[in-house]
Symmetry: C2
Subunit: 145 residues, 2 copies
């Protein structure tokens, strides 16, 4: 069994390197207003994601990032080192929650923790890892990956 | 109280128009290979979402759409009439599951069903609607919106 540090240095952690309670911290992403609107135009074209003036009279009381953009940025932060898994991150599903709006100028950073490691019964070189991933600023999601 | 048909014709359904068991069907979205790769480059740059040849030797055995793109397309289909809610769709959270890979050429269409309608105690003009939204082709997710 190789040490976690060696595996991580070689391109990611293997199943044997992962343990309950293990924590990771991603890089940071600054929320950009133009990028918010580009994403919303394509995937979530609602006034509170597209136009600050129109957003003021809605539940959000101002421009808010589409939750699906926040989720997509979360994935990017995990892929870029926030969850350094050898072979990549393949999601089976999970729970998502948006507790507060994400706003232009917010800085998103992900703190992840391994909650469960379940090796495959039929393929011992594969397994399912359950983790919680939370934005350290103002959003939260958890995933099984 | 206005009839659901009248409200829907006027731009969406209100809380009083929604009931458990109510169903909606979205329009359709054809999965485009170039768009898959553009999204993956930005949000989920892993080989199985970017390159068909590289994807063949992975768990997916071929190019697969990032699950977060599938989720984002789901949102677009809901906003475009798949969940005709007056005032827009504001997600609090939910469960997401990707049961099978989504592939280039797949046609995505969402079948939604209202599972629960909970008026706000403090603001009777607001409420929480829990719904299940499933791709009729090859993916599934559910949401609270």
């Amino acid at each position: 069994m190789t040490t976690p540090d060696k595996h991580q240095a070689n391109g990611g952690l293997y199943l044997e390197d992962l343990y309950v309670g293990q924590r990771f911290t991603s890089g940071a992403h600054a929320v950009d207003e133009a990028q918010i609107k580009t994403f919303a135009s394509q995937f979530d074209p609602q006034p509170f994601h597209l136009d600050d003036a129109a957003a003021r009279s809605t539940l959000f009381a101002g421009l808010a990032v589409s939750g699906w953009r926040t989720a997509a940025i979360t994935m990017r932060l995990l892929v870029d080192g926030g969850a350094p898994i050898a072979g990549g991150i393949v999601g089976a599903g999970g729970e998502v929650s948006w507790r507060k709006p994400t706003r232009p100028g917010d800085i998103l950073q992900i703190e992840s923790e391994v909650l469960k490691v379940t090796p495959s019964r039929s393929r011992p070189d594969r397994g399912m890892v359950t983790c919680a991933a939370r934005h350290s600023i103002n959003a939260a999601r958890s995933c099984r990956c």
